[in-house]
Amino acid sequence: MPTVSDSLLHYRPWRGEFRGPIHGSLAMARLSLLLLARRKLFWGLYALALMIFFFFFYGQYLVVWIQEQTSQQTVQFGGIPVKVGDLTKFLDRLNLNGSAHTFGNFIWFEGYIVMIVMALAGSVLVGNDFAHGSLPFYLAKPIGRRHYLFGKFLALGLFLNLVTTVPALVLFLQAGLLYDWQSYYFDHLREFAGILGYGLALTLTLGTLLLATAVWVRRTVPLIMVWTGMFVLARLLASMLVEGAKLDARWKLIDLWNDLYLVGLWCLGASRESIRGDQPEFWEAAAACGVVIVLSLLYLRKRIQAVEVIS
């Protein structure tokens, strides 16, 4: 260690302007993303999310190529001549045609990865700070409690959108290039805005809900259990109630991911009739998401006011 006087000489005072605590939130978001990026598991899950994206990406291309080039040609399948177009009929379920349902379905399927990633991210980014007592380091810096949580929210939101909104926008761009791009982009502005709207709904709902649950349960395993309860068990229960017990379609509102899917399709401009199965109204799904956001924010507000670092 150098002598103290030597060290102090190098420590000249700074005369610049401090940036506000919002920049502290950005720094917190950057730090959070860095922490996520250090975990191999997240890269594995991100790779899975990319696989779903590439399935849709090449699927869109394949469908157009088959339609344009080989739909009337036949191939031998088990010794039977079959039209190429018929072989790819299963892809019709996914609507790989640059329509509202293409993007809705894409984000729906990404949901499986999103749920796992969010549960782990919540425990790593928020739960650990509470459970292991690292909060004093952050809260002793010139940021407020809400800036701390906002930073975590930004990190979660960015990761969420990297898995859903950003790839969906790439699919939108690709769809335009596969068809007549000038007319596609102009005719499908609603879909473009819808993707952004869907992303916003996902970010607000899942971001606030995850922060609230992570602040509540703090540890990884309970967080995953709560998250699984909300997104797996609730979905099974909703399905049993509506499709099994033939109860009112509104019971599907307990399935939050389905609610977000409906809100997303609403944003994308899909007609309600084009959605399979009994579903609640779009506005009812939006109201359910709104209730989740409000309850999460109220809980966070209560915790922000009360949060004190007591070890």
Partner: protein
């Protein structure tokens, strides 16, 4: 008059039904103040209030006039908590840099400050190692580095010497003294009273949620009139001196061990005055005078009514 660097005004803090701090009033303007007290006395709560980690139930805590709970006050305070729960995957340099970013500095300044503080705590050459591989002492230095980032006028250090080897301890003590010499106020809690005494003579003693005493150890000892002072005196002619000392009203007993006396006196203040007069009047040749019970440990023992063990 300028606002004190740290001011507690009639501050009480309840955790549920537990009263952690009870109507504490404290003012720090500079220098090093040791915070001592038994476990559960309220030291940590006091430090958390000073750094805006917890909010007072009653009263007000301000740092240079700014409410300690407000985020702006935290630019004026550096806090080194006793916990060391880091993100273990990060290197020491990354951790300190992340903390500098949180302080609101632009990137270049955050980098410069990171390097400056790492250098200051002697960690520059080891800062690229992951935190999980650090010894307790290295972790302690990293915690101190992040507390120094804003070059704050007030430093609150919770057990900063814990786990540091004797050489490193001396280096940090020198650093703390240098910071105090710059006009900063340091509030340092430590269980190791001997180390704390090397650092400062000014202490705040916390007992059962109250500030039992604030001031220099000597002043506090003087106020403890109920407890007899024990002083060891090495002098020539011990037997004669013992006789003269026993004639003083203040002296309650004297033990003789060859040329050394152990004197018990009622009041430190009166004893030192009367003993000074006696030395001059009788021409005593005193080689050594050592108070045996005005150490922080002994004073704490008197105040807490026990051993003083923290």
């Amino acid at each position: 008059m300028e606002s004190p660097l740290l001011l507690f005004e009639q501050v009480s803090k309840w955790y549920g039904s537990v009263l952690a701090l009870n109507q504490v009033t404290l003012e720090l303007r500079g220098g090093i103040t040791g915070l001592v007290g038994a476990n559960g006395a309220g030291k940590s709560t006091l430090m958390k209030l000073a750094t805006g980690q917890v909010r007072p139930t009653l009263g007000r805590v301000t740092v240079s006039g700014v409410d300690a709970w407000h985020w702006e006050a935290r630019r004026l305070v550096g806090y080194c908590p006793d916990l060391d729960a880091f993100y273990e995957d990060m290197t020491g340099r990354e951790f300190v840099r992340a903390m500098a970013d949180l302080c609101g500095y632009p990137a270049a300044e955050a980098k410069r400050r990171t390097e400056a503080t790492l250098e200051r705590v002697g960690m520059t050459d080891r800062a690229n190692r992951k935190l999980r591989g650090y010894s307790k002492g290295m972790r302690q230095r990293i915690k101190i580095a992040q507390a120094l980032l804003t070059d704050p006028p007030l430093l609150v250090l919770d057990e900063p010497l814990s786990g540091i080897d004797p050489v490193g301890r001396q280096e940090l003590l020198d650093l703390f003294r240098a910071l105090a010499a710059q006009g900063k106020a340091l509030l340092v809690s430590s269980h190791e009273l001997e180390e704390l005494e090397k650092l400062t003579n000014h202490v705040a003693i916390v007992a059962r949620g109250r500030i039992a005493a604030v001031g220099t150890l000597g002043k506090i000892r003087e106020m403890l009139d109920d407890y007899p002072l024990s002083v060891r005196i090495d002098l020539e002619g011990a037997k004669d001196a013992a006789r003269l000392l026993l004639a003083l009203d203040e002296v309650t007993g004297v033990d003789i061990d060859r040329e050394s006396l152990t004197v018990r006196a009622k009041s430190p203040k009166s004893f030192y005055r009367d003993f000074g007069d006696l030395v001059v009047r009788e021409g005593l040749v005193v080689h050594r005078l050592e108070p045996l019970d005005d150490s922080a440990h002994a004073i704490l023992g008197y105040l807490l009514g026990g051993s003083g063990k923290t």
